[in-house]
């Protein structure tokens, strides 16, 4: 998709008709729209959303999207029109989407009623020059650029940093799901499980013999319980994330308060260390379980090993094992018909019969090999047992150290919390109280998640047992058999769909993670790594000499913004790749990046680094920036790629002390509005 033109009429600050044109060749891929705060940069970003999907991100909803000046010029009872038109090129066709909304002025105060619902129209000129019109424009638009994905291609700078928080993992998971078309797989699984299999089970139960029916009823009951537990887990997980978002916000607030910033940072560092140690303890526990299940029996076999060794040694001394003469040796003598002592071994001779008798007495080579194996394993067992004890001792010591450190961390955290809780600064005191509440609430939700997870595991075990029982029950009639077959076939389909879903999500996560890292490293330093972990959280790691790869606990604003931007650039890139792959589901595409304030409050170093990579982020990049963000360094890096530039000239109402005009702000007597001027008016 390449955006060609946006026409605006009476949308938000934009009075009358305005037009923006965009280029996207190699040397003109960047379009910059300059404007001061309040001039309509975020409105322009929302213009894309409204024309495509009929929604905006404004808290006030769609009631206030009509330009106030246009409304003030409309008589009471008359109609004012708002419309947007977006022209873009996609895979050889040129699309024009138009959306219009009429409003009726209802009072002297600038109040309006929307007349009906805005409906888009979509027509396009195809590769052969023919004109086509979409019968279901909303559906067609959604196929071209899914609504769930739009926030990644049209993104707000204020939101970008939040992507790097743990609480954003849901958003990242959703983005991956949409990008891979996994929602379809999700829905297929849901429809199969919730509706089709349920019906088939009922049918099978109706035709079934009593024992089979009873098992089916038990199976259905367990499945219902599993669904309930999954629902509980999902609810707890959502609440947990909600609490985490609030905690992230509280932590960010602390960093704005100079007096407590250091303490908040220390706490964050301690909490990261705590999490890391808890992870290590979990790993230790898993390793120990693994070792004990593999070699734990050695601890109890000491006497048995000694007695078996003695028996075998006795056999060896007696010459019973291994036998002194090998069967192949006797076979060779019989074949040559001559003994090593020179006796002829003619067929039917007494000597030959005696030798054949020996051959039948000797043990087979398999038994000999087994004997050798057993003896060598028995010899190794005491050594292995000592190794097991030594390893368990090392781990116990490590565990004890970890637990001591955890205790110390808990004490330090308590101290910090109590010091912040008794702060003289009222805001800090209040924040700390809420933080403690949230931490407790989060702990409760985590407990619910663990309980639900354990219950699901137990129920799945029960389900497996029931399924085994069902397999054993023979069908009593052809009808019953057919119903059973259909049910089992539907279950096999659901199982494949679920496994496919998981495999696709994992594969995409790995792939995207590696792309995020490539972009991240190209912007930042090479000894820093970025990844999307198994919980779909964006993480940063660094190489510490002598220690190796370690997580970065205190990510700076710049690092957060770079990793988030890397993620978005990787999504754009993956969408492009998927377009080439021509898959069944969401087929991806070449998308532009439209960024409102991508530099946020970054310092000069990061701003410059990001600016350097902006031309590489996507085939077309549209940036909205204020003068304070559009520094000389940014301009120098982007200038060779800028195709079009616009300046938003904001006409603000005159107020006392604010009457001076500037290039970007003009004072007006009436309601505010913005005019779009081509070119860059400079600082």
């Amino acid at each position: 998709m390449r955006i060609l033109q946006l026409k605006i009429k009476n949308f938000r600050q934009f009075y009358g008709e305005c037009e923006l044109n965009f280029l996207s060749d190699d040397t003109s891929r960047i379009t910059v729209i300059h404007g001061e705060n309040g001039s309509g940069k975020t409105s322009l970003l929302n213009a894309f959303k409204w024309v495509l999907y009929g929604t905006t991100d404004f808290d006030t909803g769609n009631q206030t999207i009509l330009n106030e000046l246009a409304l003030s010029e409309t008589a009471i009872g008359s109609v004012a029109e708002l419309s947007l038109e977006l022209k873009f090129e996609h895979e050889g066709s040129t699309y024009t989407v138009h959306r219009k909304q009429d409003f009726k002025r209802t009072s002297d105060a600038l109040e309006v009623d929307a007349i009906g619902k805005s409906v888009p129209t979509l027509h396009w000129i195809n590769e052969k020059g023919g004109t086509e019109t979409a019968q279901n424009p909303a559906n067609r638009i959604n196929q071209l650029i899914p609504e769930q994905m739009h926030s990644y291609f049209f993104f707000n700078g204020e939101r970008i940093e939040k992507l790097a928080n743990v609480s954003a993992s849901g958003e990242i998971r959703e983005a991956i799901k949409t990008l891979m078309g996994l929602e379809i797989i999700d829905r297929a699984s849901d429809h199969l499980g919730r509706l089709v299999i349920k019906d088939l089970r009922k049918e099978a139960s109706e035709t079934a013999s009593s024992d089979y029916r009873e098992l089916l009823e038990q199976e259905a009951k367990i499945n219902t319980e599993i669904d309930q537990r999954k629902q509980e887990r999902e609810t707890a997980s959502k609440s947990n994330k909600g609490f985490q978002t609030e905690l992230d916000a509280i932590n960010a607030s602390y960093e704005q308060i100079a007096d407590v910033k250091a303490k908040a940072e220390q706490r964050r560092s301690l909490e990261t260390e705590k999490g890391k140690i808890e992870g290590e303890l979990e790993n230790l526990s898993q390793d120990r379980m693994g070792l004990v299940s593999q070699t734990g029996a050695l601890a109890f076999l000491n006497d048995t090993v000694t007695s078996v060794s003695n028996v075998l040694e006795d056999c060896r001394k007696k010459g019973e094992l291994p036998y002194k003469i090998r069967r192949t040796f006797i076979d060779d003598l019989l074949h040559d018909a001559k003994c090593i002592c020179g006796t002829e071994l003619q067929e039917g001779s007494q000597a030959r019969s005696a030798l054949k008798g020996y051959r039948d007495q000797v043990t087979g080579e398999d038994l000999e090999a087994a004997f050798t194996d057993v003896v060598s394993n028995l010899r190794a067992m005491p050594r292995e047992r000592n190794r097991l004890y030594a390893q368990l001792s090392i781990w116990s010591a490590k565990e004890s150290d970890f637990n001591k450190r955890l205790k110390a961390i808990a004490e330090e955290l308590d101290e910090i919390s109590s010091s912040l809780g008794s702060s003289d600064i009222e805001d800090v005191k209040r924040l700390e109280e809420r933080r403690n509440e949230l931490t407790q609430l989060q702990a409760d939700e985590r407990l619910r998640i663990i309980k639900a997870k354990d219950a699901i595991e137990t129920l799945n075990d029960d389900l497996a047992k029931i399924k085994k029982e069902i397999d054993k029950v023979q069908s009593k009639s052809q009808k019953e058999d057919l119903a059973r077959q259909k049910l089992e076939f539907a279950e096999a389909c659901k199982s494949l769909i679920d496994n496919l879903h998981e495999a696709l999500a994992e594969e995409t996560r790995h792939h995207l993670s590696s792309k995020v890292n490539d972009t991240f490293q190209s912007i930042l330093r090479k000894d820093f790594y970025a990844e999307i972990d198994s919980d779909y959280t964006l993480r940063i790691f660094k190489d510490i000499p002598g220690v190796g790869k370690q997580p970065v606990s205190e990510k700076s604003t710049g690092e957060n913004q770079v990793i988030s931007l890397s993620f978005i650039a990787s999504l754009v890139n993956l969408a492009k790749e998927r377009n080439k792959a021509k898959t069944t589901f969401f087929k991806g595409g070449v998308y532009p990046l439209i960024m409102d304030s991508p530099f946020g409050a970054l310092d000069r170093e990061y701003r410059e680094k990001i600016a350097q990579h902006i031309p590489d982020l996507a085939d077309q990049v549209i940036i909205f920036a204020s003068n304070s963000q559009w520094s000389k360094e940014v301009d120098d890096k982007c200038r060779p790629f800028i195709g079009k530039e616009y300046s938003l000239v904001y006409h603000a109402p005159k107020s006392k002390g604010r009457e001076e005009d500037s290039d970007y702000v003009k004072r007006t007597e009436g309601p505010e509005f913005t005019k779009i001027e081509e070119g860059y008016l400079g600082h």
């Binding site: 076939f489 389909c493 769909i497």
Partner: protein, 62 residues
């Protein structure tokens, strides 16, 4: 069996051709319904469930 470490190709390879074919048809049906996703209702759910059911039934009518 834990499918966690399997690639999508491995997952598909381990399924029977019959199941694979049916799943493909089910997913196609779901894709046709994609346009309705923002207006999901019980009636729509029932309709797609019926279509999926037909895919399963067809396997046993041959």
């Amino acid at each position: 069996m834990n499918e966690r470490s399997k690639s999508p190709k491995e997952v598909l390879d381990s399924a029977s051709p019959r199941v694979k074919k049916a799943v493909n048809e089910i997913l196609k049906q779901e894709q046709e319904f994609q346009g309705y996703k923002n207006t999901a209702s019980a009636g729509k759910d029932k309709e797609i469930a019926q279509r999926i059911r037909q895919v399963i039934e067809r396997e046993y009518q041959r």
